[in-house]
Symmetry: C2
Subunit: 139 residues, 2 copies
Amino acid sequence: MKAKFKQQLREAGLKVTGPRLEVFGFLQKHDLTTVSSVIRECAAGADRASVYRTLALFRKLGIIHDVVAGGKRMIELTDRFASHHHHLSCLECGRSETVSDQALESDLDRISKKNGFRQVSHQIDISGICARCQDRSPR
Amino acid sequence: MKAKFKQQLREAGLKVTGPRLEVFGFLQKHDLTTVSSVIRECAAGADRASVYRTLALFRKLGIIHDVVAGGKRMIELTDRFASHHHHLSCLECGRSETVSDQALESDLDRISKKNGFRQVSHQIDISGICARCQDRSPR
DNA sequence: GTGTATGCAAACCCTTTGCAGGCGC
DNA sequence: GCGCCTGCAAAGGGTTTGCATACAC
């Protein structure tokens, strides 16, 4: 996976640098994170400005994309570096669970076709209260 | 609809003021808009700061909610003031189409239940190229 | 060695806040 | 008239940019 990443950079005529490796490594370890987390956790290996530039580059290269989970803007690796999925986000504890559902994907395709859209991407954010938090504070 | 809005404010012990009416009126005319548009278009009747305060209030009262369309953060009236729907956003022209689909809603319910989630809300953003833009620049 | 990428700091948003005056009820 | 709401301006926080230096190739 890291090899694939380096290869993609080189094929685009870009350099494999410390900050880029640092940020990519962090994203691999923490799928679904925030820009501020990346800045905080990668501070030792990458300046704030470099993190922003790196994330912008990764977006352009299709390595990461922005998603919304629990109403908050997050970033994560794209399907090329992680399998296609969506999130169930708990409004109480903030945790997100990953789900994949074929019927859902089919419906989205069908809806796009019906409207004459050529679908490029989609994202879904289901917010609620997770099983654990329901148990903890029942109502 | 506007009567319902005024009623909701009064029932909450809040005042019906110029800025609040101005912003609500704009939201009714332009479903799916941005904070900056509201600020720009309501400038005559509401100061920037008042727009922010008003939007925060509307969010708290469940009059508006934030959604993502075409990857951009937008705001729109909630289901109480407009029927439940989702958006197909064109990445080229930026326009958004509205869709409602029962199968899709059922899928989301089923997925939530399967994971023990009590669903509170969900949002879907389908991005692609609309029929019109496909015709204009075929590939 | 060459040209890209980085770090630093300043500039730039967008958003929030404090406060005195105005207005809905 | 009372107390909430507003406008104004200043402060705050996150993001972007300019420039000289450092490093990947």
